[in-house]
Structures are given as structure tokens and as C-alpha cells.
């Protein structure tokens, strides 16, 4: 930062979270977390997925009740039952997804619940005039006719700005922004920063959650790093360099304790002479992926690295047909996939294990057996009838080979542990004998034993000639599992590591790398 900022001790905290804990059945989401937001300062909250950021925000904004600890706002202890309570107390939250009503007019969205009235009726003219004036201050200069249009007809950035304007109009003292820039374009981000600086000048405390290091270093004064539900660092951001911040987030110094040695991945090298089984060129899915190209050879595990929000999952989904590609091509075994649908990709032998098992993988009311053969059904049937013998044979083989622990194949998949659910989903794809397997965080949320098993399986199947794309937020999994790693940043490939380069220091450097052009305000 070029300007001189007061140290973190200047001023008493406006919002003080002290020793807050929160657990859910089986998970300690937050342990003894403390966080102090000071007026006129922008505080960054960072951490990888599952570090507890969103839980912390939810505790502060009244979505969850903390199990222990104290929250004080302006010196008074507070306890919120609903997000609305928090809002009334002066804590406004801007969510990652714009949480307004797209079909309502811009002005109505801005003023809902506080409409100016005349004779008991909403004074639409005054409301629109006020809205136009307020929004002009936020760079959304659309005039009185503009604010009468549906919110949804504005660009996402302008919508986000309306959300921010609304939040601040509510007499906010603390503004929480949860990844506000994830759907913004560059120009919009700059305007947002302008607004944040004005908030800072108005002595509002801002909590800023983002994964984009450039943004953090541009706008934030202080930082708190969360990992596994606990605070691992808090202090002035300027005192922390990028590499150090990334290693804190990823927990490198604690890795030894956590993983007990190495992962279950072995060493194998793909034959570089072999033709790639999958080639993706210039994949673009605005605004998340812009022009990513990669190729995977049979028997190769290609790692896809990057911090959260860098477009890893979206890239994989664009390959597997789960997201519509705006442009770019995917070729499997020399044949181009033209329709871009999941069904086409599956037929061609490209299958994907999605990150969100529950939402995109499991069919919860079906049994383990039925979940395994779901995608293979047409191949196991004659005249539309499922062959029980063939089905049982396959289910039996994969339940044994993958060591799926279920009371019987007829047990409902929703009753299984996370690790076993994941193995069932793996089996669903492996029984198709796919050519390419895309794995999005395959070991997230499963216990250590199952994790090693899954890693070993991926290895085994790669040995047998399967091409694998591996996405993982865990550095050791990525490094030890992959033969090559493509690193993404803001939806574009920024580095490719292969051979001996696939190691921790190289990867950390790639992840923390400064943008090539002088994009920061530094």
C-alpha cells in the first residue's frame, strides 16, 4: 500500500468476535476463532474451501448460532437470531450471488421495506429519483428511467453495486463482502474498490472475503487466515508477502502433522510419445474460464492447480459437458465432441466425478447397486430390461475392488459414509471403462483411510491406461498424484509444470505469482 495506514491497534474494534466455536454433527467447523474489525479498515478473510470462512460469516450475520464465545458490536454483546436482526444492528452482508430480486425494478430492490411514501402509498416518482441519485454515486449512472427497469436487465456488476448500495443505505456500520468480485469484470472490480475506499473513509468496517490475491493486496489493510476452522494468522496484510500468505492458507508448515507421511500415490510416468486421448483447445466459459487448453495422454494424471475460484471446476465441467462452452473444442481419441452435452461426453468415454457429491452425483433414494450401474444401464440391458446377472456381476466386482463398505448392495447410498459414497460414484464411472476420468476434489470430506484408498485406485486405473484429470486443493495430493500440473489463475492457464518441476516450491510460486501486466495499484 502506498498510503500510510494506521496500525491495527488504532481504534477499538467495532465488531469483535472472541473465541467463537461452532460444530456440526461430526465436524468442528470453527474452533476458538477470534476476529476484530476496526472502523475505517478493510479486513481480508482468507482460507481454502472448508477452512470455515462461510461458517464464520454465517455466525456473525445470525444465520447460525455459535456454540461458544462472544460477539460484541460497538462494545455491546450481541446475539442474532436471524440475518434480519444482524441487519438491523448494522451488519450488512453482500453475498457472492446477488441476493436481490431480478424481476423487480432497480429502485424497488434498493428501497424494499423502506419505500418513501405519500398518502400511505409508495411514492414511486420520489423513490426512482432518489434511487437514481444514490446509484449515480456508486458509478451506476442509469438515470430515472434506468432505475425503473428490472434489476436483472443490468449487468452483474451493476447488480452487485445495487446490492452494495442497498446494504450501505441500511445504516450499516459493518459491511461483509463474500467474494463480491467473483462475477465482476475488471472495470466493475475497480469501481467496487472505489466504493470500498469510500466506505473506509466513512469509518465503516469492511470484512472482505476473496481468493484473488491481487485484490486482497490492492484493497485490504488487515488479514485473518483461517485453516481447518481455526485462525492461523492475523495481522497487517502489508507485512505478509504473497508466498507466505499462500503457504499459510494451504497449511504447509502443519502438513506433517495432518497427513502422516505421504499420500498413497505411486510413481508412474506416462509415455510421452503416446498420442493424447483428450485434447481441449481454447475452452471459454465466460466469465469463469477464458481460453484454457490442455491435453491428457492415456495413463497420465494431469493435475489442474489453482486457488479456489481460479476456474478449475468450470474447466473440468466444460470438458465433460456439464457447463455450456462459449467457445473452444474438445477432442477425444481424434473425434471432436460437437454437441457439448454430458450424454455425448459419457458416450465418448469422458466422465467426471463432480466436486459436490450431493448435488451433482448421488441419486439419494436409490440403492448402492442402482447408483453404480446408473450410467451403464443401457449397456447392461436388452430390450430395455436390466440383466440382473450382468448387473450383479459388475456391482460385485467393483464393490470388492473398490472395497465399498455397505451392508449390502441394496443399502441406500444416502446411508453410506462420504468415502464410500465417493467410491460408489467412482464405480459408476469405472464400470463404463472410460477413456478419461475427470476428478474434482475426489478426496474432499472423506476420512483418511478412504482417502488413501481412493488415491491408490486412481493410480491403479491410470496404470491400466486411463487418462486422469485431477483437481485438488491439497498440495500434496496434487503434487504426488500428478505427472504434470497445469496451473490456472482467473480462468486462464498461467503455468505448466512437468517432470521434476512438479514439486511444492514450484507450485507455490506459480500459485502466488504476480500477474504479468502491472494490474495491481501498487
Amino acid at each position: 500500500m502506498t498510503e500510510t495506514v494506521p496500525g491495527p491497534d488504532a481504534g477499538t474494534p467495532l465488531l469483535d468476535v472472541a473465541g467463537v466455536g461452532k460444530s456440526f454433527p461430526g465436524v468442528h467447523a470453527l474452533r476458538e476463532v477470534s476476529l476484530a474489525l476496526r472502523p475505517g479498515r478493510v479486513h481480508a478473510l482468507v482460507g481454502e474451501n472448508g477452512a470455515g470462512k462461510s461458517t464464520l460469516i454465517k455466525v456473525v450475520t445470525g444465520v447460525y448460532r455459535p456454540d461458544g464465545g462472544r460477539i460484541t458490536l460497538g462494545g455491546n454483546e450481541v446475539s442474532f437470531d436471524t440475518p434480519l436482526d444482524a441487519q438491523h444492528a448494522g451488519i450488512s452482508t453482500i453475498y457472492q450471488e446477488v441476493n436481490l430480486v431480478p424481476l423487480m425494478s432497480v429502485a424497488r430492490n434498493l428501497f424494499l421495506g423502506r419505500e418513501p411514501r405519500r398518502f400511505g402509498l409508495v411514492d414511486v416518482r420520489a423513490m426512482n429519483a432518489k434511487a437514481a441519485k444514490i446509484l449515480a454515486d456508486y458509478g451506476v449512472d442509469i438515470g430515472v428511467s434506468g432505475v425503473a427497469r428490472p434489476l436483472g436487465s443490468l449487468g452483474l456488476g451493476a447488480q452487485q453495486m445495487v446490492a452494495i448500495a442497498r446494504a450501505i443505505q441500511l445504516e450499516a456500520r459493518v459491511v461483509i463482502m463474500d467474494e463480491p468480485t467473483s462475477s465482476l469484470e475488471r472495470r466493475e472490480v475497480l469501481t467496487l474498490f472505489e466504493v470500498i475506499r469510500r466506505l473506509r473513509d466513512a469509518d465503516i468496517a469492511v470484512l472482505y472475503v476473496s481468493h484473488r490475491l491481487d485484490e486482497l493486496y490492492t484493497i485490504c489493510d488487515d488479514v485473518t487466515v483461517l485453516r481447518d476452522g481455526a485462525v492461523v494468522h492475523t495481522g497487517e496484510l502489508a507485512e505478509l508477502d504473497r508466498l507466505r500468505l499462500v503457504s499459510l492458507m494451504l497449511g504447509r508448515d502443519m502438513a506433517q502433522v495432518r497427513r502422516e507421511g505421504v499420500t498413497a500415490f505411486g510413481d508412474h510416468d506416462a509415455d510421452e510419445a503416446v498420442e493424447p486421448v483428450l485434447v481441449a483447445k481454447d475452452l471459454t466459459v465466460t466469465p469463469k474460464v477464458s481460453g484454457v487448453s490442455l491435453s491428457i495422454r492415456p495413463g497420465e494424471v494431469l493435475g489442474l492447480g489453482g486457488l479456489l475460484g481460479s476456474g478449475r471446476s468450470e474447466t473440468a465441467k466444460a470438458i465433460a459437458g456439464g457447463l455450456k462452452r462459449d467457445s473452444g473444442t474438445v477432442t477425444v481419441g481424434g473425434k471432436r465432441l460437437r454437441r457439448g452435452t454430458s450424454a455425448e461426453a459419457v458416450r465418448a468415454g469422458v466422465v467426471m466425478l463432480p466436486e459436490d457429491r450431493k448435488a451433482e452425483g448421488l441419486i439419494p433414494s436409490l440403492s448402492v447397486r442402482q447408483n453404480i450401474v446408473l450410467a451403464a444401464l443401457p449397456r447392461l440391458s436388452r430390450l430395455g430390461l436390466v440383466s440382473t446377472a450382468k448387473q450383479d456381476e459388475i456391482v460385485d466386482y467393483f464393490m470388492k475392488r473398490l472395497k465399498i463398505k455397505a451392508s449390502s448392495p441394496d443399502q441406500k447410498i444416502s446411508e453410506l459414509s462420504g468415502g464410500n459414497q465417493q467410491k460408489v460414484l467412482l464405480a459408476r464411472w469405472l464400470c463404463l471403462r472410460p477413456k478419461v476420468l475427470l476428478l474434482d476434489e475426489p478426496t474432499r470430506g472423506i476420512d483418511v483411510g478412504a482417502k488413501a484408498e481412493v488415491q491408490k485406485l486412481v493410480d491403479e486405473f491410470a496404470e491400466e491406461g486411463l487418462g486422469v484429470l485431477l483437481i485438488s486443493s491439497e498440495l500434496e495430493e496434487l503434487i504426488e498424484g500428478s505427472d504434470r500440473v497445469v496451473v490456472l489463475r482467473d480462468g486462464a492457464a498461467v503455468a505448466e509444470l512437468s517432470g521434476d518441476q512438479v514439486n511444492e516450491p514450484e507450485l507455490l510460486r506459480a500459485l502466488a505469482s504476480e500477474p504479468a501486466e502491472g494490474e495491481t495499484d501498487e
Partner: protein
Amino acid sequence: MSTTSLTTANPESPSPPPVFLPSRRDRILGRVQNQGAIAVLVLVVVIASIVSPGFASGANVLSILVGNAYPALLALGMTFVIISGGIDLSVGSVFALGGVLASYGSLHGGFIVALLLPIAVCGLIGLAQGLMVARAGMAPFIVTLAGMLFARGLLQAISNEGQNTYQVPDSSIFNKLGQGSWPPIITVAVFFVLGGILLARSRFGHNLFAVGGNENAATLMGVAVARTKIWVYVLSATLAGLAGLLNASRLGSGVTAIGVGYELTAIAVTVIGGTLLSGGAGSVIGTTAGVLLLAVIQNLIGQYISQYGSSASMAVNGAFLAVVVLLQTYLSRARRIT
């Protein structure tokens, strides 16, 4: 702190405003979605006046308006329900129930009872439906389908299985309420104007759009979602009961077999008028245009292929609804407002 300090924009602000005004195409699509029914109405009226000389005659226009006046109130209530993201299939039965209760009341209790009884009973039915939808989280279509059955059953119970048609006494003031040509039209017009103001200019109306447009956001923005929904069903049922009451006054009796399928027309009219069935958008003006449009078409069908009368207009209603719904789905997707 005050918000005024925020309004002093930094003069050194480096960034241009990131505003994306809707494209010309989006604006046109939006207009088609919101005001398409009015345009089609004008078009149909103009063509009909040219082709059929009798169409624009005062008597014909009046008959179109009077004939559709009271059932139009069902569409008014339906507009509110659909904007909230729900649906009310009970209004046809509640309409009939209102009529029977009103004539029963006028016979046994007099004018005041004839007014209050239907409104109270129908309002309670609406309240029960609203509670089941908003508090118990049950699907609106099944709750109101059951409500349709219940209201029809209640009506039959009161009228000795539909065999008693209560006649409003000739001497009753209640009888005068709905007579003539103009009083019904004016009454309904007044309700539509009030409804339009309620929807567009009251906080309740604003909350309604928020609930129907994005329920989660509405909750976070401080709207009492459940209460808003409950009121919507109360409003719809009360309006249906009121329409039945006025209709009974006009007919001079509580006809028991009336109202079957009226809910379908009310939904069709509302949707044709540009109210999105997914909730969150719509207008009373649009519904008015929808009511008039279908009335005009019905009138024309009656003039030219009278032997098929109501069945042909049903077929047309259905086809119209299908086309409008497909068009709306397409328009919403094209405009990318979701």
C-alpha cells in the same frame, strides 16, 4: 455515521462506471412480455371492428363487458396469487359458494348477512389455504385443489346436494346490488383500480413481487414472507366470494352449478396478460387486457360459429395459454432475467 459522507465522490475516481444498460433487443423483448396482451387486444379489436360491423356497436361492447364483469374479479385475485409464485385452483368453487351463501343469507338474515356471510366464510377458506401453503410448506396447487373440492362440498351441503336454489327475496335490497348494465362494470372497474394501486403502489405489493421473484432474497431483505403469502390467499378467496355474491345479486339466486372451470379461465387470462407463472412479475393492467382479449374472442366465436360457443372458446383459451406460456419461457430465457 451517515450516508452523506459517501455521496461525496472521490474526484480522482479513475474508473468509468461499469453500467450495462439493457440492449435495444432486451428492451423490445421486455416490452413484448409486459405489454404484448394490450397490443394483441388492440389489434383484435381493430380487426373485429372492420370485419364485423356489429362488433363495435354500443350494445355489443356493453354485453361483452357485463358478461365478463364478475368472473374477472377471480382473475384479479389470481394475479396476486401467481405473482407470489403460487396458484389458486379453488376460486371457481369459492365463487359458486359465495353466491349460494349470499342468497342463503339474504333469505334468512337480510342484507347485512348476505354481504358478510360469504365474505367471512370465503376469507376463512383462503386463510386455511394460506396457512397450509405458507406455514406447512405444502404445494399450492394441491392445497387449492383440495380447497376446490371442499368449497364445492360445502356448497352442496348448504343447498341440500345442490337441489335447493335459494332465491333472493324480491324485496331485499341485496337484489338491487348487481342489477343494470353499468353498476357491475363500475363496481368491477373500481376493484381493478384498487387492486392495481395495491399491487403497484403499496408496500404489500412490493413485498409480493419480492416474495415471488426470489423468496430467499426477500427473507434476507426483511420481508415477512409467510405473512405476505397468507394474505394473498385470503385476498384471492375473498375476492372470489365477493364476485359470487355480486353475481348472485345480479341473478337473484344462488346457482349451485356455476363456477366450474372458472379457475382455469382466470389463470389463462392472468398469464395471457403477461403475469409470469413462475412468479415475481405481472400487472393488473395486463390482466385487464387478458380478460378483455378473451372476452372479445369469445364474443367473435359466438357470432361466427355459435353452435360451438363455449367449447370453442375453451379450446382457444387452452391454445392461447400454451402459446403464451411458450413465448414467455422463450422471452425470459432470451432476456436472461431469471
